[in-house]
């Protein structure tokens, strides 16, 4: 894949890229299908339940059935909604979530785009999704949805910044924004992975990432017990499915990004284990992060809006800045 990226653009190459895009989309859809299943199972076990076990063997087809149901549902648009924006919002929320996956390196030769600014590309594009959410909340012409959308905007501003700044430490250590280079530099055992020297950055990144994902304990925009369903309260059928899809694709993307930035991507935790293909290691780390996110959901209550802002601005941002400072001093001393 990397070789192809360096070649001239020809029709064959374009076709390969297109095919690759479709394959990636299918992989992600497959992931989302089973991430939802996995989430429901994991949370079910943590909550003394069984989780889905009726549709298909072990309930494996449950999500497929759910998605089918969503797709064949009547497409309702509230009469007083802003029709164009209402239709546009789920699309705007979904597209960036899929596009950012391009920058994630799955294995040494397996990534869609070898960007020199991979990290920047990710954070810049992922910010666009929030516009979709705010639009959805606004266009629905529903008070709950509006509150959810506004919360989302406030939350995004408060957390995008610590998220970006917490990554800067890694970028400084590596000297590159290219995710492939960042992963390659973490070779040689888990003590070379970034999460150890960048432990503060890692902590800030995880908190900010969970918030970016709008997942428990930061699921304020769709806080069920307060705002009923938040920004997507008026959405149903496949438009709602798109919002859900965006959310889970971001889980996929954030897990991939965390694995690449801090957990050594495709690198083996011990050098003698490096005979196992990199993709396996990547998937293991990736799954662990995904599991961690689901685990949080089963454990945590929801934080309040003002506390969320306070945490973002008063705790995470100073911590992330201090992290940059310390990293800079360390790099200055060691040269």
């Amino acid at each position: 894949m990397l070789d192809l990226l360096q070649q001239q653009l020809t029709w064959t190459n374009a076709a390969i890229f297109l095919a690759w895009g479709v394959v990636l989309l299918l992989v992600i859809l497959g992931f989302v299908t089973y991430a939802i299943y996995f989430e429901r199972k994991v949370i079910g076990w943590m909550q003394l339940r069984i989780g889905p076990n009726r549709v298909g063997p072990l309930g494996l087809l449950q999500t497929v059935a759910d998605v089918t149901k969503l797709l064949i549902k009547e497409d309702t648009i509230p009469k007083k909604a802003d029709r164009e924006l209402f239709i546009l919002a789920p699309v705007i929320a979904f597209i960036p979530s899929f596009v950012v996956v391009a920058a994630i390196p799955f294995a040494p030769q397996l990534m869609s785009a070898d960007l020199n600014i991979g990290v920047l590309y990710y954070v810049a594009l992922s910010g666009i999704s929030t516009i979709g959410i705010v639009l959805g909340g606004w266009a629905s012409n529903n008070k709950y949805a509006l509150l959810g959308g506004m919360r989302s905007a406030a939350q995004m501003i408060s957390y995008e910044i610590p998220l970006v700044i917490s990554v800067v430490g890694v970028v400084m250590m590596t000297g590159s924004m290219n995710l492939r280079v960042i992963v390659e530099q973490q070779a040689g055992g888990f003590w070379h992975w970034n999460f150890l020297p960048q432990i503060i950055g890692f902590a800030v990144f995880i908190v900010a990432a969970v918030s970016e994902l709008n997942r428990t304990p930061f699921d304020l925009p769709e806080a069920e017990s307060e705002l009923v369903a938040g920004y997507h309260v008026e959405y149903s059928g496949f438009r709602f499915a798109f919002f859900m899809l965006a959310e889970y694709v971001y889980v996929f993307a954030i897990a991939g990004l965390t694995a690449s930035l801090f957990l050594g991507g495709w690198q083996a935790p011990f050098p003698f284990l490096s005979f196992i293909p990199g993709i396996v290691w990547f998937l293991l780390k990736f799954s662990f992060v995904v599991f961690f996110l689901f685990w949080l959901r089963a454990t945590m209550p929801r934080i309040r809006v003002d506390q969320l802002m306070g945490l973002g601005w008063k705790v995470l941002l100073p911590l992330a800045l201090a992290n940059i400072f310390v990293t800079a001093i360390y790099l200055g001393i060691t040269g």
Partner: protein, 366 residues
């Protein structure tokens, strides 16, 4: 032109966190509430009016449906009032059975509150843990009277069903089990930073306000007033048992939470003693005339339900049906402080405070 506008938001009657068909109309300035008006009556069934055309025994199932989370205490308050008016002697075994089911009910009711409160705050798992343990109590009741929610268990003069063989033993085994689980709950939830930040200092009021609003139950005791009818006006057999009334002084949601958890422990203490002293034999019905005709007069009987003071006021004209019957429902009375507490709070705190009051809409609307 940019201008700001107040947002009039209808919370309920169909809302996940109003615990039934309860509605509050709030005016929002951003996320801050400037005015809140509870709108009640969506579940009004006219129980008190219906009761005027029912014999006393027929009213009992209606009381089940008021506070459906704590039906046993509701049963008791009615039969207690009638017994008080008629001066009926209750056999000891029957009174013990009543007391045991009432305390089990208190545990079950607080468990429901605990679970749903955390669900309101956004934690999903505790709800299922609470319902796992409540299920044991429900099964005990099921074994006793064949119903899981609306028991219709008590009668004027005693109880309808005797405890089946081994039932008391099961209650005995439940006590240490529940204590264990309470520790687990505390480990899981009580120290959680987010949880504490959400409920500490929220929905605060002082003892004077609480008394002025006629609050009772945990809503009153959280302000430092040690008012528990089981202690202050002992009914049933409560004067025979040793137990404490948990009291805290901060008057916020966190204190109400602590009190309810502590009350589960106290209930278990009472149960432990009651199971020990349970008479091995005896009648379960006192000497009651076939047709219950209380003498002419009025009576007010109040007991401590899990939600506070539940009272039953009966005016009898000497007929087999009450001339007038009135329930003092703690959920309804406790709810009246809500508009005062909500002003200046955020939308999120609305849910926290409403949940902390612990209402059951069936009882609010009656």
């Amino acid at each position: 032109m940019i201008r700001t506008e107040e947002l009039l938001l209808n919370v309920g009657p169909q809302h996940p966190s109003t615990h039934g068909v309860f509605r509050i109309v709030v005016k929002l300035d951003g996320e801050i509430i400037t005015e809140a008006t509870p709108v009640m009556g969506y579940l009004h069934r006219g129980t008190e009016k219906l009761a005027e055309n029912l014999t006393y025994t027929q009213i009992i199932p209606y009381t089940d449906r008021m506070d459906y989370v704590s039906a046993m205490t509701n049963n008791y308050v009615l039969v207690h009032a009638v017994e008080k008016l008629m001066g009926i002697e209750i056999p000891e075994r029957a009174e013990f059975l009543r007391l045991i089911v009432m305390e089990l009910q208190r545990v079950a009711s607080h468990l429901v509150w605990w679970g749903t409160y955390l669900l309101d705050i956004g934690a999903m798992s505790p709800f299922l843990y609470a319902f796992r343990d409540r299920e044991i109590i429900i099964n005990l009741f099921n074994e006793l009277c064949g119903a899981r929610l609306t028991y219709n268990y008590m009668r004027v003069g005693g109880v309808k069903w005797d405890a089946p063989e081994g039932w008391i033993e099961k209650v005995r085994q439940f006590i240490p089990y529940m204590r264990d689980k309470l520790d687990e709950y505390n480990n899981l939830v009580s120290g959680n930073e987010i949880f504490l930040a959400r409920i500490k200092g929220i929905g605060k009021y002082d003892a004077e306000t609480a008394i002025a609003y006629g609050l009772s139950g945990a809503n009153l005791r959280c302000t430092g007033v040690p008012w528990d009818l089981r202690k202050t006006q002992p009914y049933s057999l409560y004067d025979r048992f040793e137990f404490d009334v948990p009291v805290t002084t901060n008057g916020d949601c966190y204190d109400r939470y602590l009190i309810r958890i502590a009350e589960i422990r106290e209930s278990l203490r009472i149960l432990e003693q009651a199971v020990e002293q349970f008479p091995a034999e005896g009648e379960i019905m006192g000497k009651v005339p076939r047709v219950i005709r209380p003498p002419e007069g009025e009576v007010y009987a109040a007991i401590e339900s899990p939600r506070g003071e539940i009272g039953c006021y009966i005016v009898s004209k000497g007929k087999d049906k009450p001339y007038r019957l009135k329930f003092r429902r703690p959920s309804f009375v406790n709810l009246q402080i809500l508009p005062k507490l909500l002003v200046g709070e955020t939308m999120t705190n609305l849910i926290t405070i409403l949940g902390g009051v612990d209402i059951v809409v069936g009882e609010v609307d009656c």
